[in-house]
């Protein structure tokens, strides 16, 4: 059976963990190799700095903005964005963390594990920027919208992602994108952040060896 593993919290018992990654590993169990280094640490920093500027520009300042990161790596990214915005705008943006596990549409289809406590500041009347590492099928973002709207009524919700890898299954798009990365479905985008993972920041594209599929 081939199932697409589209979220970091859908672990698959019995398979080897291929190491730090933003998305799940390829479901077929076939060996995967590093295809491309998409971002090194400097690229990642520049992309986040640009997204931070775009958020402030789009919202005419940061006074009304709340950043809400999705577990696990989205939380780390949202904190970095808040630091960046404070450094050039002088505004301390409230930051929250959201666990969407209980709102997923694949509960019961695969093991789903809660990733951490939801801690979101008051969002009523605010512009909430949801932050995640990789946008793929859009199902995590859909679950995040449901989870967020039960916590309050934001004036608007925007979506910021480090990598948009395509293959959307729902009518969603991101407002702020670090990198548009065309991928094949069997490939795997791995985001490494020093707050969560071992080693330096980076984004890598992994997939089956050339000629294997």
């Amino acid at each position: 059976m081939h199932a697409r593993d589209d979220a970091a919290n859908t672990k698959r018992p019995g398979t080897d963990d291929p190491g730090p990654m933003g998305e799940g590993h390829v479901a077929s169990g076939a060996p995967v190799v590093l295809r491309t280094r998409v971002f090194d640490a400097d690229d990642l920093r520049r992309a986040l700095t640009r997204i931070a500027h775009e958020i402030v520009e789009r919202n005419h300042g940061a006074a009304n903005v709340v950043l809400v990161g999705l577990y696990t790596r989205g939380v780390a990214l949202s904190r970095r964005l808040a630091v960046a915005i404070e450094s050039f705008e002088g505004v301390a943006v409230p930051v929250g963390a959201l666990d969407v596990s209980f709102y997923r549409d694949d509960i019961g289809l695969r093991p789903v594990v809660p990733l951490g406590p939801t801690e979101v500041p008051d969002v009523s009347g605010k512009v909430v920027v949801l932050v995640d590492d990789v946008l793929f099928t859009g199902r995590t973002a859909r679950a995040a919208l449901d989870a967020l709207l039960e916590l309050g009524r934001p004036r608007a919700v925007q979506l910021a992602v480090l990598v948009d890898r395509g293959h959307r299954e729902l009518p969603l798009r991101a407002d702020f994108v670090g990198k548009n990365l065309p991928t094949r479905a069997v490939e795997d985008v791995r985001v490494r952040l020093r707050e969560v993972d071992v080693g330096n920041d980076g984004v890598e594209l992994w997939g089956p060896p050339e000629g294997a599929s």
């Binding site: 509960i107 093991p111 989870a147």
Partner: protein, 323 residues
Amino acid sequence: MKHLLAVDDLAELDTSGPVATSLRTGIESMLDLTASFVEVTQRDIPKVPALRGKTVVSLFYEDSTRTRLSFEAAAKRLGADTMTFSVATSSVNKGESLLDTVQTIEAMGVHAIVVRHSAAGAPHRVASWTSASVVNAGDGRHEHPTQALLDAFTLRRHRGPSLDGCRVAIVGDIANSRVARSNVVALRALGCDLTLVGPPTLMPSRIDGWPVAVSYDLDDVLADVDVVYLLRIQLERIDANGADVRFPTLREYSARWGLTAPRAARLKPDTLVMHPGPMNRGVEIAAEVADSVRSLVTEQVANGVAVRMAVLWSLVGSGGPVV
């Protein structure tokens, strides 16, 4: 983990990816999971759609207030539908057997059955008859695993995350207590040092092999313990006028094994007091001790809902076929 019939089943907890490697890691995973649900219960809208479309039945052959309400609140806060079966208003009064009752419930399409029964082992029988997940909410003198989980969770919030070396005295009617049995297994697995305290007549007839110390004198152990866990004197199982009298009077019990105010004054300043409820105030616990800052009794009840959410989620929600 398909069913939660006894604390030992948690050794097979598999919600966090790899199957738990030991009873300790299984219990700890469940307690970690509970923390996520505590946050949910504290929201303005304390409800998530995690078990939407699932049905949870509570099948209670024995009286209960907090356990039944707690399971129902847990199921509802997970978005599940609930059905309640209470013996008093059911066809059991027309002579329907447990098997027929379970098959009737099964035919309605349910995902989890929460069973309380006065006969030890009844939930195991139910589990063998149904494809739904079964949760033991107390069976006779055998086990009450969700009580042990909520006690461990509450204790961990005050003494944790590690309970290694935490000294717990479990006091009272050990022989009749399923709460004591489940807590001995769970707290020992988490590293607690346990002492059972009570009159010899309320100790199990065979206690060899239990990982505990035994004392017949509460005053001997008071000064050394971190937690005093008081059990309810089960008046419905020990009729003071009946044949099974194991101590002369409730007043004598209270005088020798009750946590009275003078005894509480001899505890260390940070010793905690726990009780599974319902309390017999003035018997095993004095009212002023039950209401003191040491007492975790209301916190135990509050955490019960989150623990049962975690259990129902583990059995019905997160599992799913592993492909």
